[in-house]
C-alpha cells in the first residue's frame, strides 16, 4: 500500500469535479450561441457538453479485474470523456435574427440553465466533500509523524 494512495484518489476527484464545473460554465456561457460549429457550411447552435466519469474498477477487461483483485485498489476516479448532449435544439420564432431560416425560426442551443445549475451545485458539493477528505487524510498522516516524538 503506497503512502499517498488515498490522497491521489482524492486529487483525481478534485480534478474531475473541477472539470465538471468548467464544463457547466462553458454550457451556461454558450446558452444562446447560435453559431457553435460549422456543419456542411451551415452554422449549428452550440451543443451542451457533459463530463462522463468512470472508475478503474468498472473496466470490463479481465486484466484490470485481476489487477483489482490482486491489490487493494484505491485508484480514484477517471474522466472517461466529454460527450455532447444529443437532445434536439430549441427553436424560437425570431424573424429578424441573422441565423433565422426562411420561416423566421432560429435554432438555439439545447442548454437548460436549470440543469446546469443543478450540475454546478453537485460539483461544488462533491468538491467540498473531497477537500474534507483530503484534510482528514493529511491530519492523520501528520498525526502518525508524531509517534515517538515526545
Amino acid at each position: 500500500m503506497a503512502m499517498f494512495d488515498g490522497m491521489n484518489a482524492t486529487a483525481s476527484a478534485l480534478t474531475a469535479q473541477r472539470l465538471r464545473m468548467d464544463t457547466a460554465s462553458g454550457n451556461m456561457a454558450n446558452a444562446s450561441a447560435t453559431r457553435g460549429q460549422m456543419v456542411d457550411g451551415e452554422w449549428e447552435p452550440y451543443r451542451r457538453k457533459m463530463v462522463t466519469m468512470g472508475s478503474e474498477e468498472n473496466r470490463p477487461s479481465f486484466a484490470s479485474q485481476l489487477q483489482n483483485a490482486e491489490r487493494e485498489q484505491t485508484s480514484g476516479v477517471q474522466v472517461t470523456g466529454i460527450v455532447e448532449d444529443q437532445t434536439p435544439f430549441q427553436t424560437m420564432h425570431q424573424p429578424g435574427h441573422p441565423d433565422a431560416d426562411e420561416d423566421g425560426n432560429v435554432q438555439l442551443p439545447n442548454v437548460d440553465p436549470l440543469k446546469e445549475m443543478v450540475d454546478v451545485m453537485g460539483a461544488t458539493r462533491s468538491y467540498e466533500a473531497n477537500v474534507t477528505v483530503f484534510d482528514a487524510h493529511k491530519a492523520m498522516k501528520m498525526n502518525a509523524m508524531e509517534i515517538g516524538r515526545s
Binding site: G6, A13, N58, E72, S75, A136, E146, I147, G148
Partner: protein, 128 residues
C-alpha cells in the same frame, strides 16, 4: 523476553487497518458521481472473531487442510446489491463522512496509545 510487547504489534495492525479504511473511504467519496460504482468497505476488526473461531482439528495426514482460518490481513469488500442513486452508484455520502470521522478518532487514539507504549519503554530504559 522481547523488548517490544505484542501491544505495539497490535497497535501497528490497527493503524494499518485505519489507513486502509481511510483510503477506501477516500476512493468511495471520489467516486460519488461515478455511474455504477459500488462502495467498498474496509474490514480489519475481524481478528478477535477469527481467534474465537479457531479450533484444533484432528489431522491424520500431513496434507490435510487446517480447519478454521489463520490470521487474515485487512481486506476490502464490496456489496453489489445496493444503489442509492438512479445511476447505479451506491456511495452514501453521510455514511462515508461519519465513517471517516470515526476512523480519524480511532487512529488518533491508537497513536496516543502507541506513544504511551514508547513512553513507558523510554522510562524503563532511563532507569528512573
Amino acid at each position: 523476553m522481547t523488548l517490544f510487547s505484542s501491544t505495539i504489534d497490535q497497535l501497528h495492525n490497527g493503524l494499518d487497518g485505519a489507513e486502509l479504511r481511510q483510503n477506501t473511504i477516500a476512493n468511495n467519496i471520489a467516486n460519488a458521481d461515478t455511474p455504477n460504482y459500488k462502495a467498498r468497505q474496509a474490514n480489519f476488526e475481524h481478528t478477535l472473531d477469527d481467534a474465537k473461531r479457531q479450533f484444533d482439528s484432528q489431522k491424520t495426514d500431513g496434507r490435510h487442510v487446517n480447519f478454521g482460518s489463520g490470521h487474515r490481513e485487512a481486506y476490502t469488500s464490496v456489496d453489489r446489491s445496493r444503489s442509492y442513486n438512479h445511476n447505479g452508484n451506491s456511495v452514501d455520502m453521510d455514511k462515508e463522512m461519519a465513517a471517516m470521522a470515526n476512523n480519524q478518532i480511532y487512529q488518533s487514539a491508537l497513536i496516543d496509545r502507541m506513544d504511551g507504549q514508547f513512553g513507558s519503554l523510554k522510562t524503563a530504559l532511563g532507569g528512573q
